[in-house]
Amino acid sequence: MSGRILVTGLGGICAAGTGPEQIWDALAAGRSAVGPIRDWNASAWPAPVAAGIPDLDPRALVEDRKLHKLLRRTDLFGLYAAARAIDASGLLAFRAGLDPAAAETFNDRSGVYVGPGGGAYQNQYEFFPALTAAHGDLVAFGREMSAVVNPMFLLRSLPNNVLCHIGIRHGFKGPNACVTNHAVSGALALLEAAWALRDGEADRAVAVGHDAPIEPENVLYYQRLGLLSGAAVRPFDADRDGTVLGEGAGAMVLETAETAAARGAPVLGEFLGGGCASEGEGLLSIRADGDGPARAMGLALTDAGLRAAEVGLIVAHGNATRHSDVSEAAAIRRVFGPAPPPVTGFKWSIGHLLAGSGALEAALGLLALRRGLVPGVATLRTLDPACAPLPVSPAPQAPRSDVVLTLSRGFGGIGVALLFRGLTGSVS
């Protein structure tokens, strides 16, 4: 029953590129996609930068134009990344060769797991014209609202839109989940998908995390909370002063080894294990000792049946806020001792994709193993003594083994760790 779970497709999009390989190349070349906010005039704001996707053409991401009025910006990213991962896996071509009954079983045995983000504020602005028309009178608002507000408002607001439309578009009908858990959403969607396959609930699943947090009101809150840098993401640096919001999505197709072998699927990696733990101290609180992420990493190692020494690379959350990085370094030392494997992070280049970050960073971590290269953190100048010792570097490093651990942390003090092995070729 506890068979192996393989990765057979990757998809991703963010400011640094429209596919995982292109994004990885930007990381490896030391290129940051962080730049001035373009969607509104933020030049006077203390944090006028973001890693937004420039010149977005919705039709290039989702061909069906009829769908666009039902989708938010974040949904476009999620659907795009999922479709690319499914394309890359070759699953649909395989299904096309099945007889109708077998194709129906295939669909019922195909799961969809999504960690969505975005849309908390901007979406509700649909009601502004109705509020203007009502002049502050609720009775008038109730009377006039139907004539002013887009009837599709609720459908566009559904956090499970990507889940729904992956199903309709690709025909997948199996077990599913939609994890609305801030910055661990994508990682937890991946973990739930992998565990569902391990438990035999489905034969394959697509997991995707997506977000589009660069909207004025959201940026204002992050700024007021002191979470944003005005210039750059410098993980573990002594001069780090906050994170930078990014947008996009990451996706993976996971399959049981049996079904992947039966169709000669391309194999990129293997899911080994995962863990989730919380600190329970409040929405915005973080324990200084790294308790939550340390336990998440410990649970993942236990789940995978691995010793810490077998991990070859750590993709840290590394969001470059004062408290998060120092507690994360403490957690890594607690689990890995004084000499952890090479540590890196990707947010310095792609920004913090919140719900999208865990899924995209896991995909990029797998690519690092396949290329045998740990991209450096190009913005790192002086390691914060409070984070030391930590083997993080502006220069590329070599992974110590073919196992990568990725760590994601979100509001509520919730941490998720994932372990993958990098593989090449196809299963037999």
């Binding site: 919380s278 336990r295 509520g412």
Partner: protein, 431 residues
């Protein structure tokens, strides 16, 4: 089955339109006493739909003395905190410093946004000609309040529950529209089965009964317009039904690994025995007339529980009181149960307490556990004109005494996610 860790339901907390607290809710569900009335929490007199299933007379301070915490809670979070407090009291166990990391929490969360008064304040403060003016947004002292930010995070509810009750294990919030509560319990069941936790606080909470939430369903034409007869407006499976009634509330359960619950001599309402989860992949809001989607969820749930259709005595239906759902759900039940459908009693408690959206699946799971515990089936109120397409054995007119071996709870959401949960009488659980 033999290798699976079993999961016991040992605590129930409910804040519903039918009553605050499990006892008050259960009594109203048995009596068929409607929780639906003209909307009072805001002036709905201009809206075409002016009725709702409101939680009446709710004061979170009666349950939670921590005022600092409550300041960060919106109305739905208040429901969740109160329901969780009741569930833990009911179970007679709480997380301690020693056990905190073996407790988890999974909740079904609603579509999160600003409360209407906060949205109206944003509008008054920084909107020009119907659009946001970012310069005014940035320069306003009233905007960017961290308290508003905290209340509008999708994971705010789970964050508050973790903090309030000192839970430090697996924690997640999920959203699949009206299936959210069911999927939260299904996720929690698996967390315990997989050995990731021994005890879970799991449930759902929602409050869309505000001008924006009400508008959003009116715009879709989903709500019953029967403003003059609110207590009759929700009539699932009745031939004259014309939409659902929007409700609010929370349901929270304490789930425990079976042997741990037995060891401490806990009162076990029922086993949470199985979870089935499917995607219709048909249309965003429509259900397939054949019941495709829900059929797979029910079959998967029964298989997961190691139960057969013949042993099912009660189904708490999704039963929203919309033509499309009710007929599709009946078709699905007939397809799954075949000839044994005559032996299963069905009711939709939405007839009494309306549709609690993301809380519905959790509250209705609690109803199944209570039906098993009390050997009583709650009534499907307002079913007086039979619909030939919905020809099941409904618990109409009055509650029905019946020992329940196995119960099912269906929850189907916009977006096509279908959740079916299976509950088993504790005496039916083999040694």
């Amino acid at each position: 089955m033999s290798g699976k860790r079993r999961v016991a339901i040992t605590g129930i907390g409910l804040v519903t339109p039918a009553g605050i607290g499990t006892a008050a809710t259960w009594e109203a569900l048995l009596a068929g006493r409607s929780g639906i009335a003209p909307i009072r929490t805001f002036d709905a007199s201009g809206f075409p739909v002016r009725i709702g299933a409101e939680v009446k007379g709710f004061d979170p301070g009666r349950w939670i003395e921590d005022q600092k915490l409550l300041k960060l809670a919106n109305r739905a979070h208040g429901f969740a905190l109160a329901a969780a407090e009741e569930a833990l009291q009911d179970a007679g166990i709480r997380p301690t410093a020693e056990t905190a990391s073996r407790w988890g929490c999974v909740v079904g969360t609603g579509i999160v946004g600003k409360a209407f008064d906060e949205l109206a304040a944003t509008h008054a403060e920084c909107v020009s000609e119907g659009a946001l003016d970012t310069d005014r947004l940035f320069s306003s002292h009233r905007m960017g309040d961290p308290v508003t930010f905290c209340r509008t995070q999708a994971c705010a509810g789970v964050g508050l529950l973790l903090r309030r009750f000192g839970i430090r294990g697996y924690a997640s919030s999920v959203h699949t529209a009206c299936a959210s509560g069911g999927q939260a319990l299904g996720t929690a069941l698996k967390v315990i089965r997989r050995g990731m936790a021994d005890r879970m606080l799991a449930g759902g909470f929602d409050c869309m009964l505000n001008p924006v939430g009400l508008s959003s369903f009116i715009l879709l034409g989903a709500l019953s317009p029967d403003n003059e007869t609110p207590e009759r407006a929700s009539r699932p499976f009745d031939a004259t039904r014309n939409g659902f009634v929007l409700g609010e509330g929370a349901g929270v359960l304490v789930l425990e690994e079976w042997t741990a619950a037995r060891r401490r001599g806990a009162r076990i309402y029922a086993e949470l025995a199985g979870d089935g989860n499917s995607l219709s992949s048909y249309r965003i809001t429509d259900s397939h007339p054949s019941g495709d989607g829900p059929i797979q969820a029910m079959r998967a749930a029964l298989a997961d529980a190691g139960a057969t259709a013949e042993t099912v005595d009660y189904i708490n239906a999704h039963g929203t009181s919309t033509l499309m759902n009710d007929r599709s759900e009946c078709a699905a039940i007939r397809a799954v149960f075949g000839p044994s459908v005559s032996g299963v009693a069905v009711s939709s408690t939405k007839s009494v307490m309306g549709h609690l959206i993301s809380a519905a699946g959790a509250v209705e799971a609690a109803v199944c556990a209570l039906a098993i515990h009390h050997s009583l089936l709650p009534v499907n109120a307002n079913l007086t004109t039979p619909d030939p397409d919905c020809d099941l054995d409904f618990v109409s007119e009055r509650a029905r005494p019946r020992r329940v071996r196995v119960a099912l709870s269906n929850s189907f959401g916009f977006g096509g996610s279908n959740s079916c949960l299976v509950f088993r009488h504790p005496e039916e659980v083999g040694a």
